[in-house]
Amino acid sequence: MIVNLLLGIPGERPGGLLLSILTAAGSGALAVVLGTVYATVCVQAPRLSLGLQAALAVLRGVPLLLLVFVLAQGTGLPLPAAGFLALLLYSLCHVGEALRSFLAAYPAVLREQARVLGLGTGREWLQLRLPWTFRRSLDALATHWISLLKDTGALIVVGIGELTTVAKVLSEQASISDWKLILASAALLYLATTVVLVQTLEFIKARYSLGGAEST
């Protein structure tokens, strides 16, 4: 049972917790990359990006389950790809907005300093502005990543075999004494993964905030 919860049901692997982690990590990381592009476009061309900002604002109002369902049923994509894309879009809506607000809040003093140091626009963005933005938005990004890991449970709606789906399938097949154990084990796995993720992010935040204090 534990192996199934960790790796998925035979014939549908990777699944279970492994699939939840892979999907969350992949979509979360890609959302940061795309979110940075989105934030840069919004800051550099605010008027041109109004439509894009409005589209993401509307998308934030749509439940993740509906996104998963539409992409799985309305496109010809394979189910895992549709699930991944839904999580990516959902993540982009939140990460992009966090990065945009911090990128826009970049202090003018630092811009002046970069000019005094003779840094070009490209080098200023790479060496000062983006690192400053990432450091400042780390809290918001950390909260989102923790939420994203748990939100992979939404893939259950189209039967993608991540941890919640595997737990539901196993518990529906199990006897009364077993289903409680299965659901409790799945809850413990989520809890343990969340705690590890929280501790890792706390470590990264502590490390980066020290670096931030030195550099700004």
């Binding site: 749509v62 369902f69 049923q73 449970g153 259950i156 539901k168 518990s171 809890l191």
Partner: protein
Amino acid sequence: MIVYVTATAILWALSGVLAVGLGLLLAAASLSSRLSVRLLGGSAVTLTRGVPTSLLVVAGGIVAIRLPPSGWVPNLFPGTPGDLRMVAAAVTVALAVGSTGHFAVIFQAAHAALGRYRIEQTTVLGLAPLQRTALLAREAALIALPPTGARLVHHLHNTAFAALFPVADLFGWIQEQASATFEVTRYALLGAGAYVGLSGLVWAGCKALELRLAVRPARPPSRLPAAPPNLSPTPSNLSPTPSTRP
């Protein structure tokens, strides 16, 4: 469709009220002077924040679907058959538990943001416990309202998990209609519009409450204890002139 929008609104309201109530309870427990209560509150917050709502709903639904229907549970959920009201009630409780920890953390943070000085100030003023709580709650509410609104919108989206069981809700209706007619885009757009509209209403409600609290300053308690004579407000001690003492 109106029945399903109403069902979603009822599911959201019932579970939301329960979640906010439990969140307040857990936040209060974390401020308790007794270590055991603090530990219990902290563990409950970690547990409810660490387990996804999807799994809580699955667990609640599986437990309730095996139970015989009870007459004492009222069927408050339009569109849900009467013999499935236990499942609907279990889903409501699961949705509430899924948001409880998040609300508790929001309330804890708002209380902490008031600052020790402000909290101690209300104690020094000699207010009755109820008046003191009301005053601090009003001030903390201003801080807590924006994140509470955001969480309530997320909570609305979580009600879609009810579709995992035969409980009437908007997402379940979209799924059903799209599968029956193969018009996925049409029903998805309809549903998305309804969810965006409902999210907007939740956001606007919270914003209106926030503005109302911000515009109207907290009324001073009707019966304040008499201030000592040297602290009575007079034009001289209200003057902004800085002290000349070294």
